[in-house]
Each structure stands twice: as structure tokens, then as C-alpha cells.
């Protein structure tokens, strides 16, 4: 990524969208909208002082909503370009309220609330589409209860939990436990406030609040306005402390997730959604199970799937190594249902096809290997580009020209073409690059011939 930012031949237009494409191979005219960041790219040094001071907290899309960012943010820590961006939907200043703290903090004077979208016209000879994929939304599968059971997560969410730079610093804290910890934090804040309040009274009257309250309940101090206020404040304090103590006791038993279940083909190979195989999810789950085991050697993982498709150089060996050294059990069987058991543990009901029995088992965390879905924006993009899509909305290609779209001069690679893993995307990307260069060269040659 760093190389892209530094390469003299690459003009990086991040935070931009394609608006219009005219012309033909060798001579396309492209209109690009550079969305306003409200931060001037040339001035921003990426120091991050602005986001430390920004008062507005927003769920972090890069961490799949598991973490938080500020209204002024860098998409992720090592992001290229490192320019920060203001989220206009959440920024106080851009929502018409008084703020501007980031502008006061920024020593480079890069904040510009008046920045507008800019329209660029670019002339190009060829175009490569690599617009990627969307993670399939598992809430569409009612029996997996993804949006009801907090400890059922998607593979990409699990990836963020595993990451040392993720919201849990790489610890496999369960989402249900993290929610309770956040609740405790909120209660503690309240308790601190109410404690301060009753402390003032205790100092004033040199009596403990408990004693005062006991006397108050017996009917004393009825006419003493100040002490009545004290008793009321103490009652409010107790109302905060009781649930806080209960939650704290509950939190004592929390530990990281050690018993994991991976469910394969969530949305793929499923005639309700996508009949195709997404290709990378089997290896993705094995990798996540191996990494989880590296983090915590007691971790055990069960991978539920119709079959494990370890097709690729070194992949089968990787799968076997996972089984032998990383406590992975492979179960052949499709999961019928996930329910919530005691201690927020998801319970997986499945058919073990080897034993021909329906079984139920509770896990700490269930990870859904979600399908590779076409991007939502691909319909609009394909209209702009004038290219055809296949029935699933991946870019249409043919088997003899696997990176050529239906419009000459426009090529495709990566998951925009079909589901594929990183090595395959890289190989196809090189192929598309070569085809684009070739078609640009040929168009140029044709023009020269016409002139001659």
C-alpha cells in the first residue's frame, strides 16, 4: 500500500467516485467526483492530534462497528493516504452546531469546513474494474439469529477481534461480555458522580450516609430539608450501585472465548441466496482457527461444513496441520439452527452425518463464514461503464478472455469478477494490468496507422 502512495506514476484518488465514462478504447473521458474530506490533503500530515480532541464518537466501519472512531478520522492506522477525513453526517460543526475543535488543534491548518466536492476530468486509454465484494448479510438467514445473539459474529468481525490493532487488541473478548463491560463503565461514571455528591453531605454532617439513611427511614429528619435531600441522593446512589455490583460479579467470570464454532457456507451454496461456492471461506475459517489457537493454546475449534474445499498450493497441508496442531475438529454436517443458551453461549444444532445423529452443542463464540456477495454499487457502476453483469451481478466475462468485460478497453479483476482469494486476485490483477496496457498500445497503433 505504501508503494502505491509513493509511486511517481500513480495518481491516487482516494475518497472519490466515478460519475461518467464517455468515449471508447484508447480514448475514454472519465468524470471523477472527489468527495470533500473537509481536510486539505496537501496540508494534513496525518499526525492525528485532531481526532484525539474531537468530542464526537462514531462506530468504526473498519472494525465492523466493534470499535469506535471519532467524527474526524483516518480510516485505519496505516491507511494510505494518511490524510484524515471529517464524517459530515456526524461532525458537530458540519451539522450546524458550534464546535471546530479540530480546526483549533490542527497545527498544519488543514481543516477546511468550506471544502466542496471537486469534479475531475481524466483522459484514459483503458479501464480496470476491481471494485471488490460485499460481505453477505447473515441476518437474512433467520435460523442463525445473527442479529439476536451477540456472540454470533461474521468472519470479518472475528478477524478484527483477532487483530492486534483491532478493538480488543487481539484478545478474543466476546461481544456479550464487552457490552456488559461498557455498561459497567457507564454505571461507574454515574456512581462516581453520586458518590461525590453524598461525600459532600457526609463531610458536612460527619455522619455516614448509611446511618443517615437508616435514621431517615425511621422517620427522623422529616423537616430537615438538607438531610432529606441527602437521603434522596443516597437512595439514587444505591439504585446505581446495586446493578453495578451485580454486573461486576457477573464480569468476574468473564474470560476470552476458547471454544469456537465456525459455520461454513453462510449464504453461499444455498439456493435461497447464492448457489455458488465463495471459494475462500473454508481456508479463511481454518486460518482464523489456527490464529486463535496461536493466541491461546487452550482454544478448540469445530468447523461445520458440507465439505472443506482446500483447493490451492499448500492449502490441503494447511488444513491437515490445523487439525493436528491447532485443535481443529472438522464436522461434516450443515447447521440447522443457532439458539442462545446460559451465559450468552450460542448453542449450535446440527446433523453429524458420520453418526447420522442430530446433536446440540454450546460454544463461547460462533463465527459465520459469510458468502462473497456482489457489491451494492456494482449496478450503478456497470451502468456508468456500460458493461454487462452476470446473473449474480458479478462482471460478465467469458472463459476464453477471463479479464475482459463486454466493453472493449474495460477489464476486470478480483472479486468484482467472481469470488476469489488474495493470491488469485493478485494473479488476475497482473493479468488485467497486462491486458489494459496491451489494449491501450493497440488503440494507439491503430490511430497512428489511420493518420499514416
Amino acid at each position: 500500500m505504501l508503494d502505491v502512495g509513493r509511486h511517481p506514476n500513480i495518481n491516487l484518488l482516494a475518497y472519490s467516485e466515478i460519475e461518467k465514462v464517455d468515449g471508447e478504447v484508447g480514448d475514454f473521458k472519465v468524470t471523477v467526483r472527489r468527495k470533500a474530506r473537509y481536510v486539505e490533503e496537501e496540508k494534513c500530515t496525518g499526525c492525528g492530534a485532531c481526532k484525539e480532541k474531537c468530542p464526537t464518537v462514531v462506530p468504526d466501519a473498519f472494525n465492523e462497528g466493534l470499535g469506535e472512531r471519532k467524527a474526524i478520522y483516518s480510516y485505519f492506522a496505516q491507511g494510505i493516504p494518511s490524510t484524515h477525513t471529517i464524517d459530515p453526517d456526524h461532525c458537530r460543526q458540519l451539522q450546524g452546531k458550534k464546535c471546530g475543535i479540530c480546526a483549533k488543534t490542527c497545527q498544519a491548518e488543514a481543516i477546511n469546513f468550506d471544502q466542496q466536492d471537486r469534479i475531475l476530468e481524466i483522459d484514459v486509454a483503458a479501464i480496470i474494474v476491481c471494485s471488490g465484494y460485499d460481505v453477505f448479510d447473515p441476518s437474512l438467514i433467520p435460523e442463525y439469529r445473527y442479529d439476536q445473539i451477540p456472540n454470533v459474529v461474521t468472519a470479518i468481525e472475528f478477524e478484527r477481534l483477532l487483530s492486534a490493532s483491532g478493538p480488543t487488541d487481539g484478545h478474543l473478548d466476546r461481544p456479550s461480555d464487552r457490552a456488559i463491560e461498557l455498561e459497567i463503565e457507564a454505571f461507574e461514571k454515574k456512581a462516581k458522580k453520586s458518590q461525590k455528591m453524598i461525600q459532600k453531605f457526609e463531610d458536612k454532617y460527619s455522619e455516614t450516609s448509611a446511618d443517615l439513611y437508616a435514621k431517615y427511614q425511621k422517620g427522623e429528619y422529616k423537616d430537615d430539608e438538607d438531610r432529606v435531600k441527602w437521603a434522596e441522593k443516597y437512595a439514587a446512589h444505591l439504585a446505581v450501585m446495586e446493578p453495578l455490583d451485580a454486573l461486576k460479579r457477573k464480569a468476574e467470570s468473564f474470560s476470552v472465548a476458547k471454544k469456537l464454532a465456525f459455520i461454513q457456507c453462510v449464504g453461499s451454496r444455498d439456493f435461497r441466496f447464492f448457489p455458488f461456492c465463495s471459494g475462500y471461506c473454508c481456508m479463511h475459517s481454518i486460518k482464523e482457527a489456527i490464529i486463535a489457537h496461536e493466541h491461546e493454546t487452550e482454544t478448540t475449534s469445530t468447523i461445520f461444513g458440507m465439505d472443506i474445499r482446500a483447493v490451492g498450493k499448500g492449502f490441503e497441508e494447511y488444513k491437515v496441520r490445523g487439525g493436528n496442531h491447532s485443535n481443529i475438529t472438522y464436522v461434516r454436517g450443515r447447521v440447522a439452527e443457532i439458539t442462545e443458551g446460559p451465559d450468552s453461549n450460542p448453542v449450535v444444532t446440527y446433523e453429524d452425518t458420520k453418526e447420522r445423529k442430530v446433536k446440540s452443542e454450546a460454544f463461547d463464540l460462533v463465527i459465520l463464514a459469510t458468502a462473497c456477495a456482489p457489491t451494492k454499487g456494482i449496478l450503478e457502476l456497470s451502468n456508468i461503464l456500460g458493461i454487462e453483469l452476470d446473473p449474480y451481478n458479478f462482471v460478465k466475462t467469458s472463459s476464453l478472455s477471463p479479464v475482459d468485460s463486454t466493453r472493449p478497453g474495460i477489464f476486470v479483476c478480483g472479486c468484482a469478477e467472481s469470488p476469489m482469494d488474495v493470491p488469485e486476485s493478485v494473479a488476475q490483477a497482473s493479468s488485467a494490468a497486462e491486458r489494459a496496457a496491451e489494449s491501450a498500445f493497440q488503440a494507439d497503433l491503430k490511430k497512428e496507422e489511420a493518420v499514416a
Binding site: G79, S131, A433, K447
Partner: protein, 55 residues
């Protein structure tokens, strides 16, 4: 007439195509809709089968 190439999407595929073309001496315009390039791959902790860091 321009000899530049436009690459739409700054994930691993877009990054690889851009670098290949740029190394060939082509001028590349890389358009990404999010604030930073990297795409889904940047969200991955490690990549299989070598368990290399994705970033």
C-alpha cells in the same frame, strides 16, 4: 490522446494492477471510494496459507 490507465477500486486487486502498470511506465489513476486504499484485505489480520500479516 492519453495513454493513461484508470483503475477503479483500491483493494488488493486494484493495488496490484496499479503497481504493475506503474512499473511498466504507465501513468495510473487509482480511484477508491473510501478514505484509504487497502479494501477488505487490510481488514484481515493475517493471510493464508503463510499466516503473513495482511498490511
Amino acid at each position: 490522446m492519453s495513454k493513461d490507465i484508470l483503475v477503479i477500486g483500491g483493494g488488493i486487486a486494484g493495488i496490484q494492477s496499479s503497481l504493475d502498470l506503474a512499473d511498466m511506465g504507465k501513468k495510473v489513476h487509482l480511484v477508491e471510494c473510501l478514505p484509504s486504499i487497502g479494501g477488505k484485505m487490510a481488514q484481515l489480520d493475517k493471510t493464508f496459507p503463510t499466516n503473513d500479516c495482511a498490511i
